[in-house]
């Protein structure tokens, strides 16, 4: 599974990185995106869902979020 570390990057870079990675994913592929802020969490989740993926977020112990994206 590919992991993208978008922590500390400002808007819209996390979305750009996630978007590119999702488009490169094959059917059934999984992607993990690490982000730091709620803004990035919401933006990346919205982008993933708009591209037809399922996506969910878990809080990490460091205070950020781990976003798990699956392309059906």
């Amino acid at each position: 599974m590919t992991t993208i570390d978008a922590r500390g990057l400002s808007c819209p870079e996390p979305v750009l990185l996630a978007r590119r990675a999702i488009q490169a994913l094959g059917p059934g592929g999984d992607l993990e995106v690490l982000v730091e802020t709620v803004t990035s969490r919401e933006n990346v989740l919205r982008t993933a869902r708009s591209l037809g993926c399922t996506a969910q977020a878990d809080a990490t112990p460091e205070g950020g979020f781990r976003l798990r994206i699956h392309k059906p």
Binding site: C11, P12, L16
Partner: protein, 370 residues
């Protein structure tokens, strides 16, 4: 409860509701005394604050506008309440300072930031359309740089003082606005002399700050997200602002359609376009409109605080060096078209050159090659 509110405000209905509320608040602030079509203008208000502090001596635009510190403090309150206050810095602050300064110079050549462009349009000032087209072109250029790998780099978590310094300064400004010490400058006439009473300005500003922090309201992001990803989420909030402000302007009889001699506005198309193109590019490269930079500063983003200081400095330069545009004037019944001086025109060109150089120089691919 907190999570449900967060989900609602992150939804399409949430951003539309907040956009409409901000639109209504902007017109109400104008009704209560702020200048025409300037119920809320981040750039103009920061320029007025620079004047109040004596950083420039343009007598008509000096007033310590409480809305600006209230935006930051409203955002701070919301960020603390929802545990989103995160001190952070380190993403090219010196570049952000100059992006802020040039964004302000572009705004003062147009005579308003994107927020005021919307309020001007909602009041019938059709020059705002030219400005908004310029803004969109500037943002599109910023998107092209982002697609080519432009990045100001990562910020890092920082100690608390980094996050608290901008809200602390803003609290100091509120105290100065309340105490009104004699060293502050205060316009006797002109836009700086027109303002709502301080309590209303503070209350309106705090409400806008809280709502905007929760929804990530951003006038630049609205256009950028459409160009970048066909994402109309933020745009729907911005359009709601425009429609709500227009309707309330109609109720109050504030709408006057036209190009010439609109309030605190000029009808020089070329420089309305280029001024806002510079601003739009600078906001896109910095990752947020001038309002969003204030809300980010309230969340503890030290880099956004540096952008705000850049805007204050840009306002000082703009008036000390005669870069800001003159508004249209009616002299003996004849409209004299305003616009920027040659100094202002040169500053816009310099700003565009600066932004383009930064757009190329901060591409990660370039750095990787070295």
């Amino acid at each position: 409860m907190r999570e449900r509110l967060t989900r609602f405000l992150a939804s399409r209905r949430g951003i539309i509701l907040v956009g409409a509320v901000i639109g209504l608040l902007g017109v109400l602030l104008r009704k209560f005394g702020n200048p025409p079509n300037m119920g809320i203008c981040v750039a103009c208000f920061e320029r007025d604050i620079a004047g109040a502090l004596g950083l420039h001596r343009a007598a008509p635009v000096q007033y310590l506008r409480p809305e600006i510190p209230a935006f930051v403090l409203g955002s701070l309150i919301a960020a603390l309440a929802f545990r989103e206050f995160r001190p952070r810095t380190g993403s090219a602050p010196i570049i952000r300072f100059f992006l802020g300064a040039f964004a302000m110079i572009g705004a003062l050549v147009f005579l308003g930031c994107p927020w005021r462009a919307l309020f001007r349009l909602a009041g019938g000032d059709l020059n705002a359309i030219v400005g908004i087209v310029g803004l969109a072109v500037g943002i599109a250029a910023g998107v092209a740089f982002l697609r080519a790998g432009y990045s100001l780099g990562r910020s890092s978590p920082a100690r608390g003082a980094v996050g608290w310094i901008t809200p602390g300064i803003m609290l100091g400004l509120v105290l100065l606005a309340l105490i009104r010490p004699s060293f502050l400058f205060h316009s006797e006439s002109g836009p700086g002399a027109m303002h709502a009473v301080i309590g209303i300005s503070l209350a309106g500003g705090l409400l806008v700050g809280m709502l905007a922090q929760r929804t990530r309201f951003c006038t630049m992001g609205a256009v950028r997200d459409v160009i970048l990803a066909r994402d109309t989420h933020l745009l729907s909030g911005v359009l709601a602002l425009l429609v709500a402000a227009f309707l309330l302007n109609l109720v109050f009889g504030f709408v006057k359609f036209g190009f010439s001699a609109q309030p605190v506005s000029h009808s020089n198309w070329v420089w309305n376009f280029l001024g806002m193109a510079l601003s739009g590019l600078a906001y896109a490269l910095a990752g947020g409109c001038p309002g969003r930079q204030l809300f980010l500063a309230g969340e503890g983003d030290g880099d956004a605080g540096v952008f705000v200081l850049g805007m204050l400095s840009g306002a000082a330069f703009a008036h000390n060096f005669g870069l800001a545009a003159k508004a249209d004037a009616v002299v003996e019944g004849v409209v004299q078209t305003g616009g920027p001086s040659p100094n202002g025109q040169l500053a816009v060109v310099l700003g565009l050159v600066f932004c383009v150089v930064i757009g190329f120089a901060m591409r990660e691919k370039w750095e990787a090659k070295r």
